[in-house]
């Protein structure tokens, strides 16, 4: 185990050296400013490295990031069920639930995105045309909560069960009803809620693991996406290359 890690580290050092060569720093003569210069001292001593590794090892098995900031536990279970239908587990790899997508969604709703902090939310509010985009006064976190409640309401009405207790087929049908505005709600736009659920699922799957989803970079690995690499100078002219992913954490 320890040896494997060492080898990992050695490979990283080699690629870092390669990168420095490519970027012209090692050649000398050119004054290259910016981040590139400050890259060199980061995490370069053995002590730094071991410290980082021990911390990671201690946390194994328990992810303290995985607790709820906004949703209730019941709402969270509905999110788990719904996102898993959007990106289910199969023989290619884990689904949304095991990849931590529901935590990603909870955390995002608790933050500036949930509060539409960088959107124009000034009145007056009028119904617009589809080409004019969202014109409601509700914030994403409110839409999401209402949408989850409506999922359960519709499930109760039709199947006398909560959404999370439906069969896979029943859940899919229900979600299709929302997606296509086939059900009528007086609260939020069913397709608007579904689109938010779907886009946040994709975000949680494929964003850097620092946001709580894409656990262990397994969603990237599934699609051969290398994540955060220094560059692809040596790859760009070549045939397809499979590269073990790296994350922003590896940049610290």
């Amino acid at each position: 185990m320890a040896d494997d890690n060492n080898q990992d580290q050695q490979e990283k050092d080699v690629s870092r050296r390669k990168f420095l060569r490519n970027s012209g720093i090692a050649v000398g003569g050119l004054a290259v400013g910016g981040v590139v210069g400050s890259l060199i001292p980061w995490g370069t001593t053995d002590n730094d490295r071991n410290q980082v590794k021990n911390q990671t090892a201690n946390q194994k098995g328990k992810n303290y990031n995985h607790a709820l900031m906004y949703l209730t536990k019941a709402e969270f279970q509905t999110v788990e069920a719904a996102t898993e239908r959007i990106f289910p587990k199969d023989d290619r790899g884990p689904g949304a639930k095991d990849l931590g997508v529901p935590y990603y969604i909870d955390h995002q709703l608790a933050g500036s995105y949930g509060f539409n902090a960088r959107d124009y939310m000034e009145p007056p509010f009028y119904h617009g045309e589809k080409v004019q985009g969202y014109q409601g006064r509700l914030k994403r976190r409110e839409i999401f909560r209402i949408g989850l409640r409506e999922l359960d309401n519709q499930s109760q009405q039709k199947h006398k069960k909560k959404f999370k207790d439906l069969t896979d087929e029943q859940m899919d049908k229900m979600l299709q009803g929302f997606e296509g505005d086939k059900i009528k709600l007086s609260t939020v736009s069913p397709s608007g809620f579904f689109e938010l659920l779907r886009s946040m699922t994709l975000e949680g799957l494929y964003s850097d693991p620092l946001y709580g989803g894409n656990i262990n970079m397994d969603a990237w690995r599934m699609r051969n996406y290398p994540g955060d690499q220094m560059g692809y100078m040596d790859v760009i002219e070549k045939d397809f290359q499979k590269i073990e992913p790296s994350s922003l954490r590896d940049h610290m």
Binding site: P88, N116, Y120, M121, G128, Y134, G231
Partner: protein, 571 residues
């Protein structure tokens, strides 16, 4: 009462490409310049954690905060304009360097045809080729006159490229060679050569090699890391104002750069500008900056908004066609594209650079015969490889499910087996496409927002169908097993990303009746105000705009220096 600052020679509103270039050129010649930028200061060091698709590409970290300022939109005058509450169709820059920080780096020159579009169209096809309400006009400058400034911009930015066989004449080659070629680009090159077209490597501000420019600015080569568009470059390899022209201006000691300075009015008296009024966004304090010359260099929408709110220039009236400020708003037609699925080939789609790609100009401008076509102009067709990021790129065959088990299977299967050929379609101006002040919605300081009235026309629809069919043809030649292409452009929709290539509103021309600025970007109606940027484009070409904006900024710098010496109208 506003606090009054000591008078300066020149005050610049907005410090992006336009403002940066002008600041460097004027301060080098000894002029005292104040640069007002409403956003924050930026450094290359800020981008250590930039490989973050969610933060930068999806949540738009580098873009203007819409809660403070946006615009309103309607498809036509019968509709109620409503605010663009969230980002979609285009992304507004903010902060030092402006949109010049988050661009991809594709640095084209417009075609000779573009600058004389009306005359050349009439010469070849007759007057009837131009629809009655299409307001195309010549720009009051020719390609040959602008050529030296293109060259100046390319040398400053270190543009990497090779000659476009169907482009305008060049006085010199690109300062650095073309970018590396990926397998995808080779495939496109071979296919378009087989079809007897004229492929060339896209001119790129992502440096192909280490480069020192004539101002002595040294930058390192691009690493093909695939985080350009919507990101700042942590290597300083992508030319942006922060790593090129702004340091040059700073070094002179003549440039007083003030960030967090939101300009709200041009102050004027007796037909001359006397300075600008701005708000310090950190304190709310109102400040007046007197100046001999005012240069407006923010984005298209803000240029128009500032002039209208300041009552500088004659506002455009779509009913009569009179007036010029807000006239000829135009955009880009990029949906006429096709995607090919390759069953047995896999590509490094994750790798790339913002301006990495191959293009052909065989269907751009008037490089082909339009006699039997229901549109004018065209666009370049290209295979670009900016590096496909995973949240935003999940290619699946048309008509297949967008979520669920089959979506997962398809999206994982095709992610590295899909290539697209796109088109950068030109957008023509119409009498009823324009920008004016919104009667209802306000920005964070209570000033009216700009209102856009715009929709796609038959011209756009025909053009998109045409480029989509050509894109399919190329993908077929490239050996795609399945090809999906656009079949109907549909109405303009502000919610889906298209391009940040908004143009017009303060257009350049040969006479004051039909244009707002002369070919030095000097306002006809107020000779000590210069308005620089894509707002000067009288129509939008089939290219990305930055190369032409850069050239015009160098031309304007020369004009401002002349004006500073002799005064009066320069043309």
């Amino acid at each position: 009462m506003a606090k009054k600052m000591p008078k300066t020679d020149v005050v610049i509103v907005g410090v992006g490409w336009g403002g940066g270039i002008i600041a460097s050129e004027l301060t080098k010649k000894g002029l005292q310049v104040v640069g007002l930028e409403k956003g924050e200061e930026r450094h290359t060091e800020d981008y250590y954690m930039v490989h973050d698709e969610l933060r930068y590409a999806v949540r738009k970290e580098l873009m203007q905060d819409l809660s403070k300022e946006t615009l309103t939109f309607r498809s036509n005058e019968k509709m109620r304009a409503l605010p663009m509450r969230q980002y979609g169709s285009f992304l507004l820059g903010e902060g030092l360097g402006g949109a010049g920080v988050h661009w991809n780096g594709q640095a084209f020159r417009f075609l000779p045809y573009d600058f004389e579009i009306r005359s050349k169209t009439i010469d070849r096809y007759g007057k009837d080729k131009i629809p009655a309400d299409m307001t195309i006009q010549d720009w009051g400058i020719t390609y040959d006159e602008l050529e030296p400034y293109f060259d100046q911009f390319e040398k400053m930015a270190g543009i990497s490229g090779e000659e476009n066989p169907l482009g305008g004449k060049r006085s010199d080659k690109y300062p650095t060679g073309p970018m590396k070629h990926s397998k995808q680009m080779d495939l496109f090159k071979k296919a378009t050569e087989n079809l007897k077209y004229h492929p060339y490597t896209i001119p790129s501000a992502n440096l192909s090699e280490n480069y020192t420019n004539p101002d002595g600015i040294a930058r390192s080569a691009c690493q093909y890391c695939s985080f350009c568009e919507r990101f700042g470059c942590e290597y300083g390899a992508k030319a942006d104002p922060v790593v090129t022209v702004i340091p040059v201006a700073n070094k002179t000691g003549k440039f007083d750069l003030r960030t967090h300075s939101w300009v709200r009015r041009i102050v004027h008296k007796g037909g001359k500008a006397t300075g600008v009024l701005y708000t310090d966004t950190t304190t709310g304090e109102e400040i007046e900056q007197p100046a001999d010359i005012v240069v407006v260099t923010s984005y298209v929408f803000n240029n128009v908004k500032l002039l209208l709110n300041s009552k500088v220039g004659r506002p455009y009236d779509p009913a009569t066609g009179n007036g010029v400020i807000g006239k000829n708003y135009a955009y880009q037609v990029i949906k006429g594209a096709a995607t090919g699925f390759f069953k047995d080939q896999e590509f490094n789609n994750f790798a790339g650079a913002g301006a990495l790609g191959m293009a052909i100009d065989d269907f751009n401008g008037d490089n082909f015969d339009h006699s039997d076509l229901n549109f004018i102009h065209g666009g370049y067709l290209a295979l670009t490889q900016p590096g496909a990021r995973p949240i935003e790129n999940n290619p699946i065959p048309k008509g297949s499910p967008t979520w669920g088990a089959d979506f997962k299977k398809n999206s994982l299967e095709y992610v590295n087996k899909t290539l697209s050929v796109g088109a950068m379609g030109a957008s023509m101006p119409y009498k009823h496409h324009y920008l004016d002040l919104d009667p209802t919605y306000k920005d964070t300081f209570g000033d009216p927002l700009i209102r856009m009235t715009f929709d796609f026309e038959d011209q756009d629809s025909e053009l998109a169908k045409f480029t989509a069919s050509k894109a399919s043809e190329i993908l077929k030649e490239m050996g795609a097993d399945q090809i999906d292409s656009m079949d109907e452009l549909g109405p303009y929709d502000i919610t889906t990303y298209q391009s940040t290539h908004n143009t017009g509103g303060v257009i350049m021309g040969a006479d004051p009746d039909s244009s707002a600025v002369n070919n030095y970007s000097q306002m006809w109606d107020m000779d000590n105000v210069f308005v620089v940027g894509a707002s000067a484009f009288a129509h939008n070409s089939g290219y990305n705009p930055t190369g032409t904006v850069g050239a015009m900024a160098y031309r304007a710098s020369e004009g401002i220096l002349k004006y500073n010496k002799n005064g009066g109208m320069l043309v």
